[in-house]
């Protein structure tokens, strides 16, 4: 039995040891602990329900098979997140779907920036401000769904799952600078989308 006080993540180690000793039922605990993260990644990268179901199953079967090779250099959830991300990437590559392209044009940045002044909410009442914020939030949600899979996943992992840069880098295997750059570009793109909508009068 492992001394729990000696390890950084005793629960992971305890669970894995139990599974490796033949108690496969314990794997259910790992599934229940990590399925939220797997769902986040799978839903952001795969649009088809049936494919998502297959991928989720494939992820856990791969994780189960490779469990003896897990070396505790990261959290178990991060490792399963990485398997999920790679499985989804392979699926998207097989389907030849666009992973990264943001068709953005910086040429109109200055024109759009003029409209950002309208977002200074100090001049309007609190009720109007809340209503406006709710409306903008709804539009952001729609715009996030339109992002390419990799950007959508990165931005969700950082802002919704609240993972650290280090965990995101471990999951995606991207270099730190690249991951930060993709996040920056995705946020900037979303900001521009909301300004474009404002310019068109959709808001």
């Amino acid at each position: 039995m492992v001394d729990k006080a000696e390890t950084n993540n005793p629960t992971d180690q305890y669970l894995i040891e139990k599974i490796l000793s033949g108690n496969t039922k314990t794997f259910e605990i790992i599934i229940n602990n990590t399925k939220g993260l797997v769902a986040q990644i799978a839903f952001k990268m795969i649009s088809n329900d049936e494919d998502r179901r297959d991928i989720a199953q494939e992820v856990y079967l791969k994780a189960f098979k490779d469990l003896p090779n897990f070396r505790f250099r990261s959290k178990l959830s991060t490792w399963i997140g990485q398997i999920t991300y790679n499985t989804c990437l392979n699926y998207l590559e097989k389907k030849k779907l666009v992973l990264l392209d943001i068709s953005d044009n910086d040429a109109h940045d200055e024109v759009l920036d003029v409209f950002s002044n309208k977002f200074n909410l100090e001049s309007i009442s609190e009720t109007e401000s809340r209503f406006f914020e709710k409306e903008v939030s709804e539009i952001f949600k729609l715009e996030i769904e339109k992002l390419p899979p990799v950007y959508k996943t990165l931005i969700t992992l950082y802002h919704n799952e609240e993972l650290s840069y280090e965990e995101i880098i471990q999951i995606t295997g991207l270099p730190e600078g690249t991951a930060k750059n993709y996040l920056f570009r995705a946020r900037k793109y979303l900001k521009k989308q909301i300004l474009r909508k404002y310019k068109r009068g959709d808001l």
């Binding site: 039922k25 856990y60 469990l67 990485q82 931005i155 919704n160 900001k191 909301i194």
Partner: protein, 149 residues
């Protein structure tokens, strides 16, 4: 405070990590209505993402996976249990061949001209090197993809 507006990168940093921003950035955003408005857009964006409902699988994922793996041990233990019988069988086979045909094999190699022997060995070693390099490359790729842990 600088007259020029700060970059989008700085505004994002201001919203995400204000304590680690330089004083110049903080002062500029606090005074400049345009940059303050941009910071507000980012605040709205981050809040919208943070409050998005988290997706859940509408099926019994644990049940589905467990039905596939029940009564199976993870791959490594199964592989380990098979490795030793195969290794034993392999060693026995080599010993048997050596015992039965050892002298014939030695005579056969001795009867081949030395240049031909060198050529055969060089070709075999070259091929083994290429195969070894390919195996290591494939292994590293797989490890990078799946098993960093």
């Amino acid at each position: 405070m600088t007259d020029e507006h700060i970059s989008d990168n700085d505004i994002q940093q201001y919203v995400l990590d204000k304590p680690n921003c330089t004083n110049a950035i903080i002062e500029h955003v606090d005074i400049c209505p345009s940059c303050k408005a941009k910071a507000h857009i980012y605040q709205l964006l981050f809040s919208a993402i943070k409050h998005q409902s988290k997706p859940i699988f509408e099926f019994d994922l644990a049940g589905l996976v467990l039905s596939c793996i029940t009564n199976h041990k993870p791959a490594n233990s199964k592989a380990t249990s098979l490795v030793w019988p195969f290794a034993f069988f392999g060693v026995c086979s080599i010993c048997a061949i050596g015992y039965l045909f050892g002298q014939h094999l030695i005579n056969m190699f001795l009867s081949i001209p030395s240049i031909s022997m060198y050529l055969v060995f060089t070709a075999a070693i070259t091929l083994m090197c290429f195969q070894g390099i390919e195996m290591i490359t494939k292994y590293k790729k797989k490890i990078n993809k799946l098993d960093f842990g």
